[in-house]
């Protein structure tokens, strides 16, 4: 199941083909390097555009959420077996 986290994170990445690709994020002073982005989804909360990035770090699967209006990042959920 996915465990709700909902904590602010810092993200570093690059723009490639007009799309931002995160490559690592900082959570609780831990720098986590993203091995793979498995799915990107654009969703709307009212008129606020948000983008989900599902990413793999080692064996872990994280759902990162980027608020395109406030330009802030959230670690939304984490997969736990």
């Amino acid at each position: 199941m996915y465990q709700k986290i909902g904590e602010t994170i810092k993200v570093a990445g690059v723009y490639k083909n007009h799309t931002f690709h995160p490559f690592k994020f900082l959570w609780h002073d831990r720098s986590l390097k993203i091995d793979q982005i498995t799915l990107i989804s654009d969703v709307k909360d009212g008129t606020v555009k948000k983008r989900f990035y599902s990413v793999i770090v080692g064996q872990e699967v994280y759902r990162l959420l980027f608020n395109r209006e406030t330009e802030s990042w959230l670690l939304d959920e984490l997969w736990v077996d």
């Binding site: 799915l39 654009d42 009212g46 008129t47 989900f52 599902s54 699967v61 997969w79 077996d81």
Partner: protein, 416 residues
């Protein structure tokens, strides 16, 4: 004799086990495992299953408890409708690059008509199918596979996609059409429901080809004037009325409805009232967003193996939730003496039209001003940010998309 235009080339792309596949694409821990998708945490109806779950006999519509009995390692996960809808929008862009004649048939299916562009762009349709499969993988991920059916019309393309092995394509040609029609069960033929299938079975007809042995008048005696003609078309692989309708451009939705199956049987009037208001709010929000208003309201309630429904048609157009609620709740529901507990609720606003001149009545104008303010806030911050007091302290039923995408005109429009 029936005729098929074999120069036409229609492709039907059907993503395999869409909801579950996207979850498996997202999360490698779920790949190769039986997964059941439920609407939300705590729900028990499996609305979609992974191919691994299907192999274990867990079909869409199964009960989660029964599913667990069949596969104790079944993983139940809540649906993420907005992410599925986004994936469909991404696929729409991919398909539109192949041909301008693209029709999103459901959340996970799309027709692509390449008749006009095949001569110049796509000499080999099977190669095109392979290109589409690769483009989908590139857009959504390696784990996402699809079936592609190719035929001279929508009916045969859909049939080919249904019977093709998972992740493959199948082309219907003049040479294999009769063989396919003689082998395909009716469950794979779009438009033939379970009741019609069992009626056909009673006559000993188990595949479309066998219909050819009956005359038009014999079929009419059994199935009536409409279905006798439709069945004959199916027997020869001709386009049916259902698919002919796809060619007609739909400018606007004719009705907007919303239904919900509750967590339990509802008997408390306060809860029932709130659920009805909640559903009406969503209907009105959608209708107003499309600049429409309707003249007919309907309600359908179901529970304890009983149902009740009613509707009313009025002369003026409605696009205010208070007015729709007044008609549905006070004028229809409250006049009925409820005889059962309710599990399923549905409301609908039909006979939709574009709003012409606004009413001159002061009460109406007052309501409209309130609604405009409500729309402004809810458009910006999300539906139900600002809501009626009737919904306070009640769990909010939020909008969701359905697999068959009945509201595709709304969901795929640019302003949603």
């Amino acid at each position: 004799m029936p005729e098929i235009d074999w120069n036409r080339k229609i492709l039907l792309v059907d993503i395999n086990s869409y909801f579950a596949t996207l979850l498996q694409q997202e999360n490698p821990h779920l790949r190769g495992k039986p997964i059941g998708i439920v609407k939300d945490v705590g729900r028990t109806c499996i609305i979609a299953a992974s191919k691994e779950a299907k192999q274990l006999g867990i079909a869409t519509g199964s009960n989660a408890h029964q599913g667990k009995l069949k596969a104790p390692n079944l993983i139940l996960l809540p649906a993420q409708f907005d992410r599925y809808l986004d994936a469909t929008k991404r696929l729409k862009k991919v398909f539109s690059q192949i041909s301008p004649k693209t029709y999103i048939y459901s959340l996970d299916e799309a027709f692509i008509d390449v008749t006009d562009c095949q001569k110049y762009l796509y000499h080999n349709i099977e190669e095109l199918a392979l290109t589409i499969q690769n483009s989908i993988k590139k857009e959504l991920g390696e784990w996402v596979t699809c079936n592609i059916g190719i035929g001279p019309n929508y009916l045969t393309a859909k049939l080919a996609s249904n019977i093709a092995p998972k992740g493959n394509s199948l082309t219907i040609t003049p040479d294999n059409l009769d063989g396919i029609l003689a082998e395909a069960p009716f469950s794979e033929v779009c438009g033939v429901g379970m009741r019609l299938e069992s009626k056909l079975k009673r006559l000993g007809i188990t595949n479309p080809y066998q219909i050819r042995f009956y005359s038009g008048s014999e079929l009419e005696n059994y199935f009536g004037p409409f279905w006798s003609k439709e069945l004959l078309k199916i027997a020869y692989g001709e386009e049916t009325h259902h698919f002919d309708l796809l060619e007609i451009p739909h400018i606007q939705m004719k009705s907007v409805g919303r239904s919900i199956t509750g967590y339990h049987l509802y008997d408390d009037e306060r809860e029932i009232k709130a659920i009805i208001y909640n559903l009406i709010s969503e209907v009105i929000h959608k209708v107003r967003k499309m600049g429409l208003a309707g003249r007919q309201v309907s309600i359908f309630l179901n529970g304890q193996d009983q149902f009740w429904s009613n509707h009313t048609t009025i002369k003026h157009l409605i696009n205010h939730e208070q007015e729709m609620f007044e008609m549905i709740y006070h004028q229809l529901y409250r006049k009925w003496h409820r005889s059962f507990k309710i599990i399923k609720f549905a409301v609908r606003l039909s006979l939709l039209e574009k709003i012409g001149q606004n009413s001159l009545l002061l009460d109406w104008q007052k309501q409209e001003k309130v609604h405009q303010a409500l729309d402004k806030v809810n458009d910006k911050y999300g539906l139900f940010t600002l809501r009626t007091g009737a919904l306070l302290n009640q769990p909010i039923i939020r909008p969701e998309v359905t697999g068959f995408l009945g509201d595709r005109l709304y969901q795929l429009s640019n302003n949603t």
